[in-house]
Symmetry: D2
Subunit: 383 residues, 4 copies
């Protein structure tokens, strides 16, 4: 009998934020069940977290290593099928590597890992193992992002000329890490976050979104990277000029000190025939600004959208789908690919649409280049 | 060990719409698991639907009666805790009654049932059984609706003077039921839907939302109820003048022939000090238009919202929560109440916030009065 | 040599509001010059107002009667060509009548006059005199209102099925007239305003806008008319069900106690093929919600709009035109008609587009019917 | 007796765009009258244009030189008080210089002139003559721009940290100048426009707006300046990183190839306590995004705005004022200063608020530096 795909979670214990997101997102479509977890490096905390989640005590582990070892010994059909890694950046590589080496598929939160070396090693491991690896650049899961990508690739807006992608937030406008606020603390700590703060946390989302929609790679960049809040150890604001491989120009700016901004990721892509505009905070809408005719407002579920948009939509138009649903689409697609893998089949094309380890390597490289540019007096840095 | 609350679904088989919504919504918060179902009055279709959902064959039933009987015989901790009824209106009463009579709690889609007599009998049964009954007037599950309600009840906007509530849709602008489109077919069929079309399907949502936020009951109404599309058997447009118990005036209009409208439920509540405005299609925003100072834009997760809004929010600000999350909050609250019931405890107040059978009776009465008024030459009808 | 059309103003002295609007609006297009005025019934105040406006002292009069008499004796080419009446409602009829009887064209602020009898007499006078009479239902001067009207009359949205027109304001939420605020005082005083408050002041704008765009007459109405603020002598809130001559349904609501609303006139017109939506506070935008394709956002100056919209646009797209420009279009069109009248020619069709005394009679009748309905227990009142 | 201030126009004949804007804007407030003009370098065209404007033939001149000479000989009280220069960039310097040398005040369209040398000479001439010189960076005339400036200077949003200013247009997305479209032709012609295309035409508006609101000077910039449309002689897209004198970071991008954009000038200013956001296409609204409390939406005419905003507002809230009204405020303030000059008085502070020749010099310098940076491999260029 067919069964749900089984997930083991690493991280995401009491007090964490993104772990809960992964759990809710993975549950929505009914394809995945959480069967075990190593929710904290503190075994007691891991145990309590497991109880909160109604897991049997013997499937709650004190460390990811223990989980991978013990689960591996369980019979097929009982053991987890994949791990979901929701720890801070510096604890991505270890569990991902061990999972892959032991035959488990991986879902990993972004950015991929801590540094470039880890990133490349992970990419190599994924390739060698043939296992499935999804990186949760969740914003590409929105139907209207998929619609935008399809419109570009189908030539609807002509050759791309300019891209403006923004990711302003305001939540680090004060020296929040000094208050031990947990989310702020690790994100601004180079030993946990890596060489970048805002650029790693959200700048990579912006970069990924721009490349996903346009299908173009960033070729050169010129960055002004700043730490605005006194005492902070990593960047909290970055403004970047971009040049894409086809000659298109671009601007990317991301900030965590843009006071009053919530989570305002947005993108404009201008082609020869039209401009597209999408706001993450109003995700079911895609504005199409035509050169010669009235602006159209495309909406999730309305009219004839591209199949990739339709296949990532759950509800009729006007029933807003949000962040969790977009996140869920990554899990759903991943689950279908795992199911196909287990059946020895090629997954349907629609399900192969999620960010991979290669996107993670590109994101890590972007972080490195943007930080390098920020320190350089050279105008253009090759990516 | 604590366990998830167990759901048995009635209706919602292949090709249905709202059943999937209930399943996704009930899964999000990890409090509920689907353990069995009678997904269709066609046993074969029910079986296939169960397979789609990875249910064991012996928990998929050919009728709701069979399900209730067999589940009742299962040991405690294995059998379902409640039924979720997601059938068309004319198949609400039967399973709800049988479930209640056999000790199962009930979640029921709206409107409550087919006619006023059924409604009153259900209310009586719920009262007598002491069981928990939730009606999925899902729109009251949004955090900013809860914020609006709390602002009103705390006197922030002063005495209510006027309410404008709208529910325009356009999907029945053509004679869609003639094409056998399933959603259109039963909603426009008096033998399945009852005495009202649009007013029952969406007018009651508008009525429920207005009364929920204002805490005021509609006392009188004057309705112009129309069937615009030729050949249609039930109303597809209704415009209603309202008078509330405190003397406030109101306008309610709902329509399924408002071409191009998606699912545009929205409400404005004007008090002596401020007006509130909320749009279902932009649900994380509440506009507060003050008499003497600039308009404020309240947003889910931003600043100091009332506890009822905060406790129904899952994500940080700027991460849009949508229709499923609001729907999920009704399931989550219901599940907590069931858990408290099982433990013989009083549920926390925050979890007692979901629409009940009493709301369902009020909604059914609204449908009757509005249809009566539509046929009357009297100006005002008492509600 | 061609010259500007000469305006004499009645009312609009120091402290007045609408007089200044008329002066600014009439100046914008360079077709009209203010040459004289009787700005107040107080001669000293009239004189000072004239000085403010750089008028020669001998063209500033102590009363409208004096102005009409003296101007009449001036040589052609020096005397005023028309009067602009910007007094409160109860001082419309006298000057309009006298102006028409003495051969002067008239621009008159709305509503047309004080009561139905005056309205009919004015209409008769205009007809008999053959003179030009413009009523400043200024909101019909906006380009996108003209676009909406043209779309309807060209059948772009199919047969009209439903109209929702709203005019919420909040500025009379308190008992402002008790503070002697001048605008509030006369508008809430039956001896100056007539039988209606909000319904006469702004309800008629809503009625006029709905009939202008749809080209349909209201046939029946059912109104709930209220005085919400204690002590007020006239209505400050009205909610009206409408039936149009073609069978379309409608809702009209207007209010001056909708706390926090500025001047939020807006309209939705739903046809068989599409819905139109226009907001006065965002006047350069017209939303077209198609039944089968994405919503289009028409914008002043963008793409191929109807000639009537284009000919009332002064600036390239994205350069917002506002209230004064729409108001100015009524003056511009009126001026061209006066010029054609003087030349003994038929004005171009584009310039014949402004509200007339007939619109004023309809508006006055609407006021009477809506107030009658508000007091009646009959459901429907014929208009 | 007080009289209107008299304007002589240079340029703006038939077929021109901005001349009409200046005429409408100068007429609105009733402080200025057009008394003469040299509307074209083609005397016949100038004459016809004068007739269109109802000017006497003897006040319509064949050249600006003729106008300045002849007007100078007219008696005081009859001759023009100032010239309004609305010609293409390369014909700003000549008439401005001659006007100033002959005692006439000047209103000049932006950018100030053709090159840096001219700019500096004009600044010197203004200083030496003591005459009044206004540059029509009209966007600073909007009330909500003034509100933003006042909020910054009063410390309401704390120290400025980041500025994002954008000016996307799409009207030059095609090789429009090849069709002899008049507006496109001169703006893309280096012999008429100067060294810059988009950066001179609209980039300077963005620069001016940012410096006006923040009160901060741009200290360094790094620009990517492009000509996207093949065959075009000047830039049509520019993306610029900014550093302000107080250390704030910034991004400025302006484009005329952003397909589908109308005239979308907008700015965000982030301080320590709040962010401000203003869109020129929705000019009566200013968004204030507070760090610790709900976003406020300030609106022209609503609540307690700063005096500078109130004194540039003509209408009650909800009656949209647009582009012409903002433009008119520059003329009105200029007129009051001319009046005070004539009376030998210091103008009231509120009227001294308009862009000056110094702003023009800064704008010209910005153009030079941004074009220099675009060609440089140095990252940062000092401004």
């Amino acid at each position: 009998m067919a069964r749900k795909i089984r997930m083991g979670m690493i991280g995401g214990g009491r007090g964490a934020f993104i772990g809960g997101v992964h759990r809710m997102a993975s549950a929505i479509d009914g394809e995945i069940e959480l069967v075990c977890g190593a929710f904290s490096s503190n075994p007691e905390k891991s145990k309590l977290s497991g109880e909160d989640l109604y897991l049997p005590a013997d499937r709650v582990y004190g460390s990811y290593a223990e989980m991978i070892e013990k689960e591996k010994q369980l019979p097929d059909g009982e053991r987890m099928d994949f791990v979901s890694i929701v720890t801070p950046n510096h604890v991505h590589f270890g569990p991902a590597k061990m999972a892959l080496e032991n035959g488990f598929h991986v879902v990993c939160d972004k950015p991929l890992c801590f540094d470039m070396q880890e990133a490349e090693e992970l990419a190599k491991l994924v390739k060698e193992s043939g296992l499935i690896f999804a990186l949760t650049h969740n914003y590409t899961g929105y139907p209207m992002v998929k619609q935008a990508k399809a419109m570009v690739s189908n030539g609807d807006i002509g050759k791309i000329r300019k891209v403006v992608v923004e990711y302003p937030q305001g939540w680090l406008s004060t020296f929040l890490e000094s208050t031990n606020q947990k989310q702020a603390a690790w994100r601004t700590d180079p030993s946990k976050s890596g060489i970048a703060g805002a650029m790693g946390d959200i700048g990579t989302h912006a970069e990924n979104l721009a490349e996903y929609i346009t299908g173009l790679k960033i070729k050169q960049l010129c960055a002004d990277i700043s730490t605005i809040v006194e005492g902070r150890q990593l960047d909290d604001d970055g403004n970047v000029l971009l040049r894409f491989e086809n000659g298109a120009r671009g601007v990317l700016h991301a900030s965590q000190i843009s006071a009053g901004e919530e989570n305002n990721l947005n993108i404009r892509v201008y082609g020869e025939k039209a401009g597209l505009q999408w706001f993450q905070m109003e995700p079911n809408t895609l504005y199409v600004k035509w050169l010669e005719k009235p602006m159209e407002v495309l909406r999730t579920g309305v009219g004839e959208l591209y199949p990739s948009a339709q296949s990532h939509t759950r509800l009729p138009s006007g029933h807003p789908e949000g962040y969790l649903e977009a996140f869920a689409s990554i899990y759903r697609n991943f689950a279908h690919c795992v199911r196909a893998f287990q059946a020895g089949k090629e997954p349907e094309a629609v399900y192969q649409d999620f960010p991979t380890v290669e996107d993670g390597v590109r994101g890590m490289n972007f972080i490195y280049k943007v930080i390098e540019s920020g320190k350089s007096s050279e105008k253009w840095i090759d990516v």
